[in-house]
């Protein structure tokens, strides 16, 4: 089975044998039978084939301004990632899961959404949060350890992060079943028809809940888009530990149409999501999209990828960077210049400064808040325990210095 002593180069070659993007690394275009949609090569060249015409039409309206907007989104999403990672290294955050390398998948899909659509993310969807108007600073509350959420989901139609892998795909499907009952599918009014998108990874596809979500969505023909970011790694486990077939093909058995897109190609991600959303809103039911991408960073700041993957593989994917290729396109089309680059740099610096100030200014939640919102209505056990604890705390009011056994950090 596994060859333990395979040389890294040979291992990489073996992995690349199943890599649908391998052909494009040498500058060639994808073969027609690649089973993967790409509209923009790593070299920043638009791919124009008869087969991808319908998808090209879906991005045809994206003019230079819109493309610069997508570029700005991706650059600032990455800046957020970098700043949060630094803040963790400085001890300001307990943990942070980077989305580095997945900017195109997240921005491309997120920017295809309508305001009334609803998103159920996993926990690495900082770029999608950005497109939904969530203040990304609020994401850091969770990783600072002061909140399990951090934003108002209903103000942004962007649910809280879900840490139990795949559980939220069922919430998305149920929400979509509610949308159907509200009569907001297939009305023909683009301001009313509503779709739901759920984000998850390659590892999540092994969870039973994801299969159950696909079953419920399929039999109910619910308006939900299953957006799988196949970033090749579930912490240390490669996709070969999750599936024997390309992940999107799993959807076929459920009767759900699917496609695989170059997840580092923001235009392909936008086009595929737009198509799936249109199907959902018009009553055509669910779609499964596999965005073939790469987790360029560690799983989280606690992870060490050098224990399980090669630097050659990481280097290969750096050459497929989602941000570089859009900048190359903008440059080739005369839509980018040094002045714009400098302005975006300054915007990134300002974001970084704001994030640092915000995080360092976050206080400690009140101890009483531990007892708040366990239930929406009064619960006698919580009430009694809260009262007891308040009295216990108050008993030290005149004698605070003598309580030496507890080692609370920060202001109490």
């Amino acid at each position: 089975m596994n060859q333990q002593n395979t040389a890294p180069a040979a291992a990489l070659a073996a992995e690349r044998a199943g890599d649908p993007l391998a052909a494009t690394d040498t500058g060639a275009t994808l073969p027609v039978d690649a089973d993967l949609l790409q509209l923009l090569t790593p070299a920043g060249v638009r791919v124009e084939t008869p087969e991808n015409a319908t998808y090209r039409e879906r991005v045809a309206h994206l003019d230079a301004d819109a493309l610069r907007g997508l570029y700005r989104d991706m650059v600032l999403a990455r800046r957020f990632d970098d700043e949060a990672t630094s803040l963790q290294r400085q001890g300001e955050l307990g943990l942070f899961p980077q989305a580095l390398g997945q900017e195109a998948a997240q921005i491309g899909s997120g920017r295809a959404l309508a305001p009334q659509d609803y998103v159920f993310p996993s926990y690495r969807e900082h770029g999608v949060a950005w497109t939904r108007g969530v203040d990304v600073a609020d994401i850091l509350r969770q990783f600072r350890g002061i909140d399990h959420g951090g934003w108002d989901p209903q103000a942004h139609n962007f649910h809280l992060y879900t840490l139990v892998i795949g559980s939220h795909t069922l919430h998305a499907t149920g929400y979509a079943m509610g949308v159907q009952r509200d009569g907001l599918v297939g009305t023909g009014d683009p301001a009313k028809d509503t779709a739901v998108v759920t984000y998850f990874g390659d590892g999540a596809t092994s969870q039973g809940d994801v299969s159950e979500a696909l079953v419920f969505a399929a039999v109910n023909e619910s308006p939900v888009v299953f957006f799988c970011q196949n970033n090749q790694w579930a912490i240390s486990e490669p996709t070969t530990k999750q599936s024997r077939v390309p992940i999107h093909q799993r959807a076929h058995g459920f009767g759900i149409p699917s496609l695989r897109v170059d997840g580092n190609d923001v235009l392909a991600c936008y086009a595929a999501t737009a198509e799936a959303l249109e199907r959902a809103r018009s009553g055509g039911g669910p779609t499964f999209i596999e965005a073939y991408t790469y987790r360029m960073g560690a799983h989280t700041t606690s992870d060490d990828p050098t224990r399980y993957r090669t630097s050659e593989q990481e280097e290969l994917w750096r050459r497929r960077d989602p941000i570089d290729r859009l900048r190359l396109l903008l440059e080739a089309e005369g839509a980018w210049d040094e002045q714009r680059a400098a302005a975006l740099d300054a915007e990134g610096d300002a974001l970084g400064e704001r994030l640092r100030t915000f995080v360092r200014g976050l206080g400690r939640p009140s101890t009483e808040s531990m007892f708040e919102h366990v239930y929406a209505t009064e619960h006698a056990v919580v009430t009694a325990e809260r009262r007891w604890f308040e009295e216990y705390e108050a008993s030290f009011a005149d004698d605070g210095a003598s309580r030496t056994h507890d080692q609370h950090g920060g202001a109490r």
Binding site: G149, L170, H171, G174, Y175, E372, H379, V381
Partner: protein, 346 residues
């Protein structure tokens, strides 16, 4: 998975007359409560396996799909995690789903959704999101069933902050409590004593819907010598014990908890302060069961009034046994009387 087919359906007894008092089985009382909730709020919907055309394996949802349609009485795929997970999504969209788990032993595929998602959403959203989801679970034994069809897992859920856990014992409470559970903004695990589905009682329909029954125990028989604490299927057992003991000159007070989370400690404590003795009866295994919590609280609050240790009668620390042995496993009249005698002999 199948209900005993030779038993008449509890929900197909003659329909109740709205507004008045009707004599209903416990199953039919829940059916009437569900019907009233569906009538009162278009956002209420029922979800579960075989609950639509079939009316549920115990017929508790009998006739409801015919009245309210397939979008409101939903025959779901056979996937418990999917039922609860999609119910959470529906609740986030503003619906009030009432899920039926076909049998107690089949709740565990949904255990993750219930404990990690349903129970915590209000808390992790800092109160921004409510999940008014009810999960109905036929529970308990005594029906001669096969494996996984007779269990009492209520303590597992009562141990989870964020959930309310209740169990009615009478048709009236079954009717009132299902309506109050559906009206609650909190998730409620609604344990139905399946062995008592066919018990009959008078039910006043269309009473007020508050959250009274979800927070309070009730003294169902007054007495002076000993307090029997029970809920769900063991309440009728406790009343039989009290009647038998009365014939021997012992006065037993019976408390029907109705709710396990929260626990109405005050009602239990008031009773035990009066009687000085307490025996807790449930079908679930006694080891780390809800009786242990009650015993601890009674001991803490009634230490000087107690004339004997708090005793527990319940299932053993074995898997639920084969049907031919369940009579020995379940807290029978004799085993409860034995505990009463031991408490009185102290």
């Amino acid at each position: 998975m199948s209900a005993p087919t030779t038993t008449p359906s509890p929900a197909t007894t003659p329909a109740a007359s709205p507004g008045g008092t009707s004599r209903l089985t416990l199953g039919k009382a829940i059916n009437e409560g569900l019907r009233a909730a569906l009538d009162a709020d278009p956002k209420v919907l029922l979800m579960g396996e075989d609950i639509g055309r079939l009316g549920g394996v115990f017929r508790v949802t009998d006739g409801l799909q015919a009245s309210f349609g397939e979008d409101r009485v939903v025959d779901t795929p056979l996937a418990e995690s999917g039922i609860v997970g999609t119910a959470i999504g529906l609740a986030l969209r503003g619906y009030r789903p009432v899920c039926e788990i076909q049998f107690d032993g089949f709740i565990f595929p949904a255990y993750d959704q219930i404990t990690t998602q349903l129970a915590k959403m209000h808390y992790r959203s800092r109160g921004r999101l409510n999940l008014p989801v009810v999960i109905r679970v036929p529970f308990g034994g005594g029906i001669g069933a096969v494996e996984h069809h007779s269990e009492s897992p209520e303590a597992l859920f009562a141990h989870t902050p964020g959930l309310r856990v209740v169990a009615p014992s009478t048709p009236q409470d079954a009717y009132t409590m299902i309506r109050e559970a559906i009206a609650s903004p909190d998730p409620v695990l609604f344990f139905e004593p399946k062995g008592r589905y066919w018990d009959k009682g008078d039910v006043v329909l269309d009473g007020p819907v508050a959250d009274r029954t979800l927070n309070s125990a009730v003294v169902v028989r007054e007495g002076t010598d000993l307090t029997l604490v029970a809920y769900g299927p063991t309440v009728p057992t406790a009343l039989k014990v009290a009647a038998a003991a009365a014939a021997e000159g012992t006065s037993i007070e019976v408390v029907d908890l109705r709710t396990i989370s929260p626990l109405d400690t005050a009602t239990v404590v008031a009773s035990v302060r009066k009687t000085g003795r307490c025996v807790v009866v449930h079908e679930a295994a006694t080891f780390l069961g809800s009786g242990a919590e009650i015993a601890a609280r009674v001991t803490e609050e009634c230490f000087y009034e107690l004339e004997s240790p708090v005793l527990r009668v319940g299932g053993f620390h074995t898997p639920y046994p084969v049907a031919k042995l369940e009579h020995e496993y379940l807290p029978s009249l004799d085993r409860v009387l034995d505990a009463v005698d031991r408490a009185l002999a102290y």
